[in-house]
């Protein structure tokens, strides 16, 4: 139990590093020196120390939303089978619960963005809902693929006990496309832009500052970590070696981290090599992901 909790804390603590790593890789690819990979931590520390400004027209929803968002992501993190067969709260929820927990956070964030009455918040909310309404079904189908293979929607379906199959590879590809949308990456969104009019996720959180913004950002990092972990776990399933010496554990840890880095590199490569899509083309993009996930389900049913 203690190891499991430590494990979760470690992964949550490493979550911002993944974002830092992606910007590091991107900057290298673009011949730039760029910021340190630890910049996300500095940003979080800075935000926590900053004064918070809350719009006069904002209600309690605006103030409560960041807490709901961070709490839901932490709950999701607790459910995840990071290294052992399942998280400490394995009985509390299955893979489907994960989807709903994600939705809960998003719902409150969209509501909070509307709450201040700023036009950017409204634009951000409507775009986020448009995108997530297309991304969520894909996520569900990916989960079904895994469950069909495992025979249950138990979260242990992604715990590394399964073999890699055609179905799981296709499901991982679909999940990768959804991840780009869910983590506000090019070609769906652009985290680096300063252009308010083009933002999706950033437009929703424009009104936030200080500690509450730090909560929202941390939640986004955790969500990204969970999605990356899922992709890595589907393509490169590994389980904790039950017996083994220190060197074996070290090797295992290295491979564990390397899988996440591989996903991060893939995301960074996509981000520098394509332009952001026109907003309404996102429907096509996530449509492809949907088709892929249906194929994955069919493959799982056929047992390949």
């Amino acid at each position: 139990m203690l190891i499991a909790i430590l494990n979760i804390l470690l992964l949550v603590a490493c979550a911002p590093l993944v974002s830092g790593l992606i910007s590091g890789i991107k900057n290298n690819l673009r011949m730039r020196r760029g910021q340190s990979v630890f910049q996300p931590y500095y940003n979080l520390a800075k935000l926590c120390a900053k004064e918070e400004v809350v719009s006069e027209t904002a209600s309690w929803i605006f103030k409560a939303a960041p807490l709901v968002v961070i709490a839901s992501m932490l709950t999701a993190a607790v459910l995840m089978p990071w290294c052992i067969v399942a998280g400490p709260l394995r009985q509390a929820g299955d893979l489907l619960a994960l989807i709903f927990i994600f939705s809960l956070g998003r719902f409150f964030l969209a509501l909070a963005a509307l709450d201040t009455g700023s036009s950017f918040g409204g634009m951000g909310s409507s775009r986020e809902m448009f995108i997530s309404s297309l991304a969520e079904p894909v996520f569900c189908l990916v989960v079904f693929t895994l469950s069909l293979q495992f025979g249950s929607t138990d979260i242990a379906a992604v715990s590394g006990m399964h073999a890699v199959s055609v179905a799981s590879i296709i499901a991982a590809t679909a999940l990768f496309l959804v991840t780009l949308a869910e983590t506000a990456r090019v070609p769906v969104d652009n985290q680096e832009t300063h252009l308010e009019l083009t933002m999706v996720h950033e437009a929703m959180v424009l009104e936030y500052s200080g500690r509450r913004l730090a909560f929202i950002e941390m939640a986004a990092y955790i969500k990204q970590m969970i999605l990356f972990f899922l992709i890595a776990q589907i393509i490169f399933p590994i389980a904790l070696p039950v017996f083994g010496g220190v060197s074996e554990i070290m090797l295992w840890l290295l491979w564990y981290a390397a899988r996440l880095v591989i996903v991060a590199i893939a995301v960074a490569l996509v981000e520098v090599s394509v332009a952001k899509m026109r907003l309404f083309r996102v429907a096509d993009f996530l449509g492809y992901a949907f088709v892929l996930s249906i194929v994955a389900v069919l493959c799982a049913l056929l047992g390949v």
Partner: protein, 525 residues
């Protein structure tokens, strides 16, 4: 139709109008003076048969010398390569003139400017809101370009009324004047139905510094430096237009060497801006690799500028009478070598953009400015050429460009892609022009003359990278500037942006805006 034909045609078209005076002080300027009551009629006739938008229109306070204000409208006649201006005297009692704006759209902004700066009423202009002197801070009844203006006197303040679009599900999205990026200040008010833009209203003037007033009373040498500061990305085009106006008035003929050097620097300015804009368009659609590539090219040109002249933005190069920078053999070799490298780099950049389906999908058919709209609005320069208006001052008034067989860029579709293609073509053409001009340079030539001070007025004009930069200059007998009217192409083209974005979705606005890349400071003066 040659030069004299303009007058005879005009007389035929306007049987009842007496031309008070017709003068041709310089081969490229034809000046007509009419009575104030014939102003509108004359301008409409010129607008139709030249045909030309209003290239500039300005007031002048001549009360000390002639006891009246004047208003001048300037047209360009492409076939005979001359500027045709119509001037009227306006008595100072209750100054006003008949507005052209209901027929000639390109006059409307100029008229609003004349009204706020001189208090001369454009009678019949439906939109009298002030442009640069914002009603919230600048009291009414203060006209800064009048000669007797010293300090603003207290007076009534008012507000600005935006156009309201009404209907089900229409939202207003106000953006600016403070933006998230390091760009100029401008207020954009979108009326949207969901994501599509129904109306865009621009409110500019936030960088109004009173530049035209600052010119007054300066010597030409000081004023050249000031002209470099009018619009930071067009230092050379502005100083060149000013210098040409001053040289014209002084009757100075600049040495051939200086003419080539100016042409070279003008093209270098065009190149670094075009490269920067192409990168900016890539960046605005989140296509970051080519954006980084383009910024390398831009930086290489800026560094080249510094090595050649000591200034990255080509400041302190121009002077009335020539250029301060010489280009010895070593610098010429450096220039040619850098150009060769840049050309290959640039081709790679263009290839990576044109070969990317995701990028082309963003720029193709986005932000279309149709040719008819562009013509009606009087859109000029690069944006005009992308919409099928074949006008480039380098072709109308070729000068040294004739020797290089200058080729003009032209596109028909008027979308972001067309504006990108015009930039690509012009960048490559600029490389070629510079190579030709460098071949004509020689060591040890004089690059400037000392201009003789003379009173008079004249028009300086340059095809800068955005389009025509115009300076109308009047120098008094002491050699000091009495009036300087500046028109940056941005002033003509901002209304074009408001039309180009209609029907596009809001997230595409930054891309449309970047493809125009207009100047705030050049517009606000």
């Amino acid at each position: 139709m040659d030069r004299t034909d303009v007058i005879s045609t005009l007389k035929n078209k306007l049987p009842g109008v007496e031309l008070l005076s017709v003068a041709q002080p310089y081969p490229d300027e034809l000046r007509i003076k009419v009575e104030a009551r014939h102003f509108k009629q004359t301008c409409l006739a010129l607008h139709t048969f030249l045909p030309s938008p209003i290239m500039m229109q300005f007031g002048s306070d001549e009360r000390a010398a002639a006891g009246c204000f004047t208003v001048t409208a300037v047209f360009v006649h492409i076939r005979s390569a001359q500027w045709v201006s119509v001037t009227v005297d306006i008595p100072p009692g209750a100054p006003g003139f008949d507005s052209l704006s209901t027929t000639i759209h390109s006059a409307s902004l100029f008229e609003r400017e004349i009204r706020e700066m001189f208090g001369i009423e454009p009678r019949g202009n439906p939109d009298l809101r002030r442009l640069h002197l914002h009603d919230e801070v600048w009291p009414q009844g203060n006209f800064p370009l009048r000669k007797d203006f010293r300090q603003p006197q207290p007076g009534a303040l008012s507000g600005y009324i935006f156009t309201r679009v009404e209907g089900d599900g229409i939202f207003e999205v106000p953006v600016g004047p403070v933006h998230a990026g390091i760009i100029g200040p401008g207020h954009f008010r979108f009326s949207v139905a969901g994501e599509p833009i129904i109306n865009l209203e621009l409110r500019l003037g936030f960088t109004h510094r009173g530049v035209e007033k600052l010119f007054e009373g300066k010597t030409c040498a000081d004023a050249v430096r000031l002209s470099e500061c009018v619009s930071g990305d067009s230092c050379f085009a502005h100083s060149l237009a000013f210098a040409q106006a001053a040289e014209k008035i002084c009757g100075a003929t600049i040495p051939a060497q200086a003419a080539y050097l100016r042409a070279i620097f003008l093209e270098l300015e065009r190149m670094y801006n075009h490269a920067g804009d192409i990168g900016g368009m890539a960046l605005d659609v989140g296509f970051s690799f080519p954006a980084a590539h383009a910024s390398l090219i831009k930086e290489a040109i800026l560094q080249l500028n510094e090595q050649l002249t000591g200034s990255r933005y080509l400041k302190k190069v121009n002077a009335a009478g020539g250029v301060a920078a010489d280009m010895a053999a070593a610098k010429r070799a450096l220039l040619l070598a850098t150009l060769k490298r840049l050309k290959t780099d640039f081709q790679e950049l263009v290839k990576s953009l044109y070969a990317s389906a995701s990028f082309m999908d963003r720029v193709d058919t986005t932000g279309v400015l149709r040719r008819k709209t562009a013509r009606d609005l009087g859109v000029v320069g690069l944006v005009g050429r992308a919409a099928g208006i074949p006008t480039d001052l380098r072709r109308v008034f070729p000068g040294v460009h004739r020797e290089a067989q200058f080729k003009m860029a032209l596109q028909e579709s008027g979308d972001v892609l067309a504006r990108l293609r015009v930039r690509v073509f012009e960048f490559e053409e600029s490389c070629r022009l510079i190579e030709t001009f460098v071949g004509k340079l020689a060591d040890g030539q004089t690059t400037g003359v000392e201009p003789q001070l003379k009173a008079g007025s004249g028009l300086g004009y340059v095809e800068g990278w955005r389009g025509p930069v115009l300076y109308w200059l009047k120098i008094d007998s002491a050699g000091l500037i009495e009036r300087c009217k500046i028109v940056d192409p941005s002033f003509h083209n901002w209304p074009g942006l408001a039309y180009a974005v209609l029907g596009n979705i809001i997230p595409d606005f930054p891309l449309c805006n970047k493809s125009f890349d207009l100047s705030y400071s050049g517009n606000d003066l």
